[in-house]
C-alpha cells in the first residue's frame, strides 16, 4: 500500500536581511555621503539552507534542534506565515498551524466568543466551529465560565481553552510548535493524549519540541536541524540519541549571554520584559564553556530585564526542565526576602545555584517575571544547560540512581554491636 505524500519540501531556503548595527546614520549622509551611500545597510542570515523532506499521510514528524537552529523559520515557512527565499513546499489538503496557543484571543470577550473567533481565525467556518463547539468545551472543562470574559480566567484555563480549539481544527495536516512547553503536568498529558488521537485519526503532523519524551512518544521520524540545515534525519530513537549525545559538545559555542528580546513567548501580560540570561561560574576553576557544568558544580544565572515603574513586588523566577519534559525545580526571588530597587527600569537578578545535584543530562531553563499571580513575561526555553557526567570534585562518576535529582547527602553509619 502506498500512502500519499502529504508534505514535500524541496530545497527550501530562507535568508533574512537584518539591519546592521553599523549601518549609516542619517547624519552620515551629510558628513560623508560617499561612504554612506555605499555602506551596506543589511546583513543576510541564512536561517534555512537546502531543507528537503517528505512526509506521508498520517505520519508524525518531529523537528528537533537547538535554539536558533531554524526550527521556527521552518514552521513559519510551512505554515505560510513567511515565504521561502528559494525552493518550494507542496502540501496536500488543509493545513492548520499552531505556533502559539491562544493567538488572537481577546481578553475582553467571553469564552464562547473566543472559541468562535479563534477557530475562524485558524481557518474554520462558523458552521465548522458550531459542529465541534461542545467537544471543545468538554476538552477545556471550563463549564459554567463559558459566558465569562476570558480575562477573568486563570492562565491555566485560558491555555486549556486555546489548546482545545486547536485540537479540534478540521485540518489534514497540523503544524505544532512547542505547545507542551507551557501548562502543568496534567495539561501536558492531556495534550499529548489529544495529539496521539489526532495522529491515529490519520492526520499528518509536524511537531517541534524540546521535550524529548514527547518527541519519542509521538513521532515516527525525526529531523534534526542545525544552523539551518538538516544534520540528521531518520528513525526517532536513533536521531534523538545522537542529538542528546551531541548536546554536550554543541554548548561549546553557545554564548555566555543569551538574548531573550526576540525569543518566543507564551501568554504574558506585559509590564516587564526579559532581555538577557547570562551564565556565570562561581569560581574560575573550570575551563569548560558556558552553560556546561560538571555534576554537583555550582553556578549562577543572571537575568536581565526591564520593569515598568510602580509594579507591586515583582518576582523573578527560573525553572529547570529535563529532556523528558519533567520540571525538576523552580526557584524565585520570592523564596527568601529580597529587596527590590524602586522605580523600575533595567534590572538584573542573580541567582546562585549552589550544589544543585542535577542528574547528568540536558536541562532547559525557563525564566519568568511575575507580579502577584500574574505572569508579566516569560520565556519557556531561554537557555540550555548541560550537566556532565563527571563530578565537580573529581570523584568517580555517579552510580545509577532513581529519581529526578541525584543528591549527594552525608550518611553516617555506625555499628550497634
Amino acid at each position: 500500500m502506498t500512502r500519499h505524500v502529504s508534505v514535500r519540501a524541496e530545497h527550501v531556503a530562507k535568508t533574512y536581511n537584518i539591519p546592521r548595527e553599523d549601518a549609516p546614520l542619517p547624519s552620515d549622509y551629510v558628513r560623508r555621503p560617499r561612504w554612506a551611500l555605499r555602506a551596506p545597510r543589511t546583513r543576510s542570515i541564512d536561517a534555512l539552507r537546502d531543507v528537503s523532506f517528505e512526509l506521508h499521510e498520517g505520519e508524525v514528524l518531529g523537528v528537533i534542534g537547538r535554539n536558533g537552529a531554524g526550527k521556527s523559520t521552518l514552521l513559519k515557512v510551512l505554515s505560510r506565515i513567511t515565504s521561502p527565499t528559494s525552493g518550494r513546499v507542496v502540501m496536500r489538503g488543509r493545513v492548520a498551524s499552531l505556533l502559539e496557543v491562544g493567538t488572537g484571543f481577546h481578553p475582553e470577550l467571553t469564552g464562547r466568543e473566543n472559541i468562535y473567533l479563534n477557530g475562524m481565525l485558524l481557518g474554520m467556518t462558523s458552521q465548522q466551529v458550531t459542529a465541534v463547539f461542545d467537544a471543545i468545551c468538554e476538552f477545556a472543562s471550563i463549564g459554567p465560565y463559558i459566558n465569562v470574559p476570558i480575562k477573568r480566567y486563570s492562565s491555566g484555563m485560558q491555555l486549556r481553552l486555546a489548546f482545545a480549539v486547536a485540537a479540534h481544527l478540521a485540518a489534514d495536516t497540523m503544524i505544532i510548535d512547542e505547545v507542551l512547553a507551557v501548562g502543568d503536568a496534567e495539561f501536558q498529558r492531556k495534550c499529548l493524549g489529544a495529539m496521539r488521537d489526532v495522529s491515529r485519526a490519520g492526520r499528518t503532523t509536524l511537531f517541534v519540541s524540546h521535550n524529548m519524551s514527547a518527541i519519542e512518544s509521538l513521532c515516527s521520524r525525526v529531523i534534526w536541524l542545525e544552523k539551518g540545515e538538516i544534520r540528521e534525519a531518520g528513525a526517532t530513537d536513533q536521531v534523538v540519541r545522537s542529538y542528546l549525545r551531541a548536546g554536550a559538545a554543541s554548548t561549546d559555542d553557545a554564548p555566555e549571554v543569551v538574548e531573550l528580546s526576540n525569543a518566543p513567548r507564551g501568554f504574558q501580560l506585559g509590564g516587564a520584559r526579559l532581555n538577557t540570561i547570562r551564565f556565570r561560574r562561581d569560581a574560575a576553576l573550570s575551563d569548560d564553556g558556558p552553560w556546561q557544568v560538571n555534576f554537583g558544580e555550582s553556578f549562577a544565572l543572571e537575568v536581565g530585564f526591564s520593569l515598568k515603574p510602580g509594579l507591586i513586588e515583582p518576582i523573578v523566577g527560573i525553572a529547570l526542565r529535563n529532556d523528558r519534559g519533567e520540571d525538576v525545580l523552580t526557584s524565585h526571588s520570592g523564596d527568601l526576602p529580597t529587596r527590590w530597587p524602586t522605580g523600575g527600569g533595567d534590572t538584573t537578578a542573580v541567582v546562585s545555584v549552589g550544589a544543585p545535584w542535577l542528574r547528568p543530562g540536558t536541562y532547559f531553563i525557563e525564566v519568568a517575571v511575575i507580579s502577584g499571580v500574574q505572569l508579566l513575561d516569560h520565556v519557556s526555553n531561554a537557555a540550555t544547560l548541560v550537566v556532565a557526567e563527571q563530578s565537580a570534585d573529581g570523584a568517580p562518576p555517579l552510580q545509577i540512581k532513581k529519581g529526578v535529582v541525584a543528591p549527594m547527602w552525608t550518611w553516617s553509619i555506625s555499628s550497634l554491636g
Binding site: 514528524l61 525552493g87 468562535y116 481557518g123 465548522q128
Partner: protein, 297 residues
C-alpha cells in the same frame, strides 16, 4: 518504505504522482514558493473567509467595550462635528452651499470623509497593531486591512440614518439621481481601502507613516471639498482639488443626495482617475510585499 529525509534530493521532474500541483482529486493542494498568482490569491480569500468574519467581529466588539455610551458614540461624533462646522462655516464664514441648509450639506460631506478617514486611520496601522497575530498565523493579510474598517462602516451606516433624519427635518426631497450615491460610496470605499493597503504595507517597514498620518488627515479635511464645494475655490486653483482622489466622489455623492451643482467635468474626471490610480497602486504594493511582510514588521 521509509523515505529518506533531508539527504535525499528531489528533482522536479521525478515528482511522485500522488502529489502534483494540480491536485489529483478533490483535495486542495497548497504550493509555497514565494509566488502569489492572482488565482491562488483569490482562492485563499475564499478558503479563509472565516478569518475575515472573525477579525471584523473582533474589531466591532472591542470598539465600544467598557464605554458607558456604547453605540451612542456613533451618533454623537458626527453630530458634534456638524454643530461645530455649522457655526464656523455656515454662520461665520457663510460658505455657499447652493441653497442647501448647511447642517445637511456638512453631514453629507462628513459621511464620506469620516468613512475614508477612519478606514485609512485604522487600516494603515492594522498590520503593525496585529503583529502578534500575523507572525503566528496565516490568512490573507488584506483581511486585516478590510476588517479594521468594520467599525468605520458601522459608523457610516449610523451617519446615513442621521442624514435621512436631517433630510426629513429640512424637507429635502430625494433627487432623480439618488442612485448615483451608491456607486459614489462604493468608490469611496474602494479608494479608502486601496489607500489604507498602500499605507499599511509601507508602515510595516517604516513606522513614519503612523506618525505623520494623523496630521496629514487633519490637513486633508480642509483640502478636500467636505465642508465647502469645489466652486467655493477660485477657478485657477481648482486643478489642485482635482488632484485629490476624493473630490470627484464626494461631489457626486452630494449632488446625488442633495442636488447640489456638480463642478466642471474635468475636475471630476481627473479626480476619479487619481482615485483609481491610488487604489491600484495600493493593491499592487500590498500584494508585492505581503508574502514576507512579517520579516520586516
Amino acid at each position: 518504505m521509509a523515505v529518506g529525509v533531508g539527504a535525499q534530493r528531489h528533482r522536479a521532474d521525478v515528482a511522485s504522482p500522488v502529489l502534483d500541483e494540480r491536485g489529483d482529486d478533490s483535495v486542495p493542494v497548497i504550493v509555497i514558493d514565494g509566488k502569489s498568482p492572482w488565482r491562488r490569491w483569490f482562492a485563499d480569500l475564499y478558503v479563509y473567509r472565516g478569518a475575515l468574519q472573525s477579525l471584523a467581529w473582533r474589531n466591532l466588539r472591542s470598539r465600544y467595550k467598557q464605554a458607558a455610551l456604547g453605540m451612542t458614540w456613533a451618533v454623537v461624533q458626527p453630530a458634534v462635528q456638524v454643530l461645530v462646522f455649522t457655526v464656523l462655516f455656515g454662520r461665520l464664514v457663510k460658505v455657499p452651499t447652493g441653497g442647501v441648509p448647511y447642517p445637511v450639506f456638512a453631514l453629507a460631506g462628513l459621511l464620506t470623509w469620516n468613512l475614508f478617514n477612519k478606514i485609512v486611520n485604522e487600516g494603515a496601522v492594522s498590520l503593525v497593531a496585529n503583529q502578534n497575530i500575523i507572525t503566528k498565523l496565516f490568512f490573507p493579510r488584506i483581511y486585516l486591512v478590510i476588517a479594521s474598517g468594520a467599525s468605520a462602516l458601522l459608523d457610516a451606516a449610523v451617519t446615513s440614518l442621521l442624514l435621512v433624519v436631517l433630510l426629513a427635518v429640512y424637507h429635502i426631497a430625494p433627487t432623480g439621481q439618488l442612485w448615483l450615491a451608491v456607486p459614489a460610496l462604493a468608490g469611496v470605499l474602494l479608494f479608502s481601502y486601496g489607500f489604507a493597503a498602500l499605507l499599511a504595507a509601507i508602515n510595516a517597514r517604516w513606522r513614519d507613516v503612523q506618525h505623520t498620518l494623523p496630521f496629514l488627515l487633519q490637513v486633508g479635511l480642509f483640502v478636500t471639498p467636505v465642508i465647502y464645494q469645489v466652486t467655493f475655490v477660485p477657478e485657477r486653483w481648482r486643478w489642485l482639488l482635482a488632484l485629490n482622489p476624493l473630490t470627484g466622489l464626494i461631489e457626486i455623492f452630494r449632488a446625488a443626495v442633495l442636488g447640489t451643482p456638480v463642478p466642471e467635468g474635468w475636475v471630476v474626471e481627473l479626480s476619479l482617475i487619481m482615485s483609481v490610480a491610488a487604489t491600484l497602486a495600493g493593491v499592487w504594493l500590498f500584494r508585492r510585499s505581503e508574502a514576507t511582510i512579517v520579516d520586516v514588521v
